[in-house]
């Protein structure tokens, strides 16, 4: 399954890139983040993040969709 990943803020700094395209067998978004966390050394646990698919917040248990754009949302600090 091929997906596009978007990284923001500290996740982007840790990954060293703002986006990447990935081939993955992850069963759901939670498993995908776990794999990326190991690969990029993300300090933030999934419990502190939200996840969005194609521009809308999604559930961590959702299965991946081919060609979707996935963004991991670290705790926000606007305002």
């Amino acid at each position: 399954m091929r997906v596009k990943l978007l990284y923001f803020a500290s996740l982007r700094d840790a990954a060293g890139r703002a986006e990447e395209t990935l081939d993955t067998q992850a069963a759901d978004l939670r498993a995908l983040y776990a794999a990326l966390q190991a690969r990029h050394g993300f300090a933030l646990p999934a419990a502190r993040l939200r996840v969005a698919v194609d521009g809308a917040f999604a559930d961590w248990d959702a299965a991946l969709r081919e060609g979707s754009e996935i963004a991991f949302i670290p705790p926000v600090s606007g305002g």
Binding site: R48, V76, G79
Partner: protein
């Protein structure tokens, strides 16, 4: 017209306020967040806001629609800066018009609280001591170094 907007350059609040003027308005409440020279005791030189623009826009609009449904107000707008900001620069503006002040205050407070807690915008602070970091509240207390 969009009620929520990201601005990548400084924006003028006078025209935003004027957009909310209307003969039915009795009370107008507004809130502005400005860049302070201090965050929890650390001297701040400046900061950068980064957004996930598509989702920030959608979530900001959702918050303003919620405010219009929850409170007896006439209209509400919000603009949030992204990019590099210096001390004293305007980071976020909220304006609410209503017939009466109770609803105007309550909606204004609701909007800024929800924007700060839900809209995917992140602050990167540069400190006077040379350190810098992304703010990911709450939990870690101090911003990460580096």
């Amino acid at each position: 017209m969009a009620r929520f907007r990201l601005a990548d350059t400084p924006f003028d609040t006078a025209s935003l306020r004027a957009d909310l003027l209307d003969a039915r308005v009795g009370g107008y409440a507004s809130f502005e967040g400005w860049v302070r020279n201090d965050n929890e005791g650390r001297a701040v030189d400046g900061l950068r806001y980064e957004a996930y623009a598509a989702l920030a826009q959608a979530e900001g609009e959702a918050i303003l629609a919620e405010a219009l449904a929850k409170f007896d107000i006439l209209d509400a707008h919000c603009v949030h800066r992204v990019g590099d900001l210096a001390i004293g620069e305007l980071a976020v503006w909220v304006g609410v018009s209503a017939a009466h002040r109770d609803a105007a205050f309550a909606a204004c407070r609701y909007i800024i609280d929800e924007v700060k807690s839900r809209v995917p915008i992140w602050k990167h602070e540069r400190y006077a001591d040379g350190d810098a970091g992304w703010l990911h509240p709450p939990g870690d207390g101090n911003p990460p170094a580096g």
